[in-house]
């Protein structure tokens, strides 16, 4: 189905990320676009997905977008309002998170994320970023992860300046060799397209592009070798998904401005 009104890159990302959530899954959500994706999934194809926030919110029925994962809006009509101890120990480390959402300033070839510091010197960085928060924990302990990032050459380098949150590390079995028992990036949703990772080697390939974007444009804007010769899936947001995003999820255009 196509829709009359155009949709923005952020709306496309929210829809594509939402579709990564299967009904009934337990979803760990971070600040920003992942909140839109999870709220959209819950209002469309995955009404029984369970949203979890690290600050303590478990399975809320949210009516407003939270501004952070500790916002009171994350516990509206929730099953539980707990805290970091319960969520990190029992839900995340206990292996009960099916899918975790991550963002970051830089994402590299193997889905490693930098949210700590830009530049080669951690101690005196060119730009200091907020830090891991729960990001590294979600990357390590979720059963799988979905990363969301703006697609720019400098944001998608061959190697990130600092691995805050490990993805597939150096590819092949390097993640397991580091002692990480399971998980790893399933998808990288960007403003231009959707990147997935091969089994075993964990090399990235372009799986989808946003309508109107050429695969060669995606490659030009990517700092690592990206296989663009795979038959592309072309996900179009439905009218219903865009309407729900605009009318119910973010009516005040906090993210979708």
């Amino acid at each position: 189905m196509t829709i009359d009104a155009p949709y923005t890159a952020a709306e496309w990302m929210a829809v594509v990320a939402a579709r990564e959530i299967k009904d009934g899954e337990v979803v760990f959500v971070g600040t920003g676009l992942p909140m839109l994706a999870a709220m959209l999934a819950k209002r469309t194809h995955a009404p029984d997905c369970v949203i979890v926030f690290e600050a303590g919110g478990v399975d809320p029925r949210m009516n407003q977008l939270p501004m952070s994962v500790g916002d009171s809006r994350t516990i509206e009509n929730a099953a539980m309002a707990s805290g970091l101890f319960d969520v990190f120990n029992y839900l995340l480390q206990g292996g009960r998170i099916d899918i975790g959402f991550l963002g970051g300033a830089q994402v590299d070839r193997y889905g490693n994320i930098n949210s700590t510091a830009i530049g080669n010197d951690y101690l005196r960085p060119k730009v200091r970023l907020p830090g891991s928060g729960g990001g590294a924990d979600v990357a390590i302990m979720s059963q799988r992860t979905v990363i969301m990032a703006r697609h720019e050459l400098r944001r998608l380098p061959e190697k990130v300046d600092f691995i805050t949150s490990p993805g597939w590390l150096e590819g092949n079995d390097s993640r397991a060799a580091a002692g990480i028992p399971h998980g790893g990036p399933a998808a990288l949703v960007t403003t231009l397209g959707l990147i997935r990772y091969r089994d075993i080697t964990h090399e990235p390939f372009l799986a989808s592009v946003r309508p109107g974007i050429m695969p060669s444009d995606v490659r030009t804007q990517t700092g690592f070798a990206l296989d663009i010769d795979v038959p592309l899936d072309l996900p179009e947001p439905s009218t219903q998904e865009i309407e729900i995003l605009r009318r119910d999820v973010d009516p005040h255009k906090i993210f979708l401005s």
């Binding site: 990190f88 830090g131 729960g134």
Partner: protein
Amino acid sequence: MPNKLSSLPDLACAVASGSSISIGGFTSQRHPTALLRELIRAGVSDLHVYCHSAGSDIDLLIGAGCVRRIEGAYLADGVLAPIARNWRRFVEAGRIEFSDYSNAAMMARFSAGAMGLPFLPTLSMLGSAMLNWHINAQHGDETCIGSPELRQKAVEFDCPFSGTKTLLLPAIKTDYCLLHVQKASTSGLIRIEGQEFLDIQQALAAKHVFVTCEELVDDDELRREPERNRLPPFVVEAVAEVKYGSHPHSVHNYYDYDPAHLRRYDAAAGSAERFAAYLDEFVHGLKSHSDYVVKLGGEQYFETLRPSPNLGYNANLVRTSARS
């Protein structure tokens, strides 16, 4: 029953410069922010701060020059201010010691301290570059200040039973833990509404726990529902009633965060000059927390942040910036 009633100035004066400290709340929620402003007025300095996801609470202390060293996971007010700007400025200028951990790692460290264990194993941080950097790398010194017996930031350790790789993280014990909660009694019994964040573990990992509350209530009222009380009152050393004591941060069921003020803070924290002006206006230029509330516009001002019926937050709060 002991009477632990204190006042904001007395609590601030009891915090010694050079001590280690943790602060309750999470990003823009339920920080003891009025007490932090009082610490700045009292001239407390050289603090060693431990945190998980902090926001403009610890950033305020950093910008006021109170912090020597910070160990934590995150400093930002979420979407309202995606980076704590004093933190960024101080790190980029090499003016603060710091060491990065993840939130689960800091949770494990506080929990170890609370449980009387020297360390706890975790799966957190495996494979992260955070492990490569020792606490005092700036000075070529790998000792952990506050716990001089601990030599390293973390130790990889294979489980002797299963062989599973784990990471051992050293316990945190702080001199002080400062919390802001909804209700407390003069005996030190406290009631947290909404998420507890990591307040309970932080309190139990501290030598001295000071609590500010929105309202003092009768001890009997809190004892009617003991299942809702999570901290033994004997752990709390002193309590002060500080209405609106978390502003500009939120207190579930009492008031929402203040987007306009947080944006104003964010803009100020981007430069030393602007931040000095902010401090003059909202901290040094005011004698007390009461003056702060009056300056904001008093009770009428807080009406705009009041939670909607049956919600912990204000459903009509204007959260988008005027600029966009």
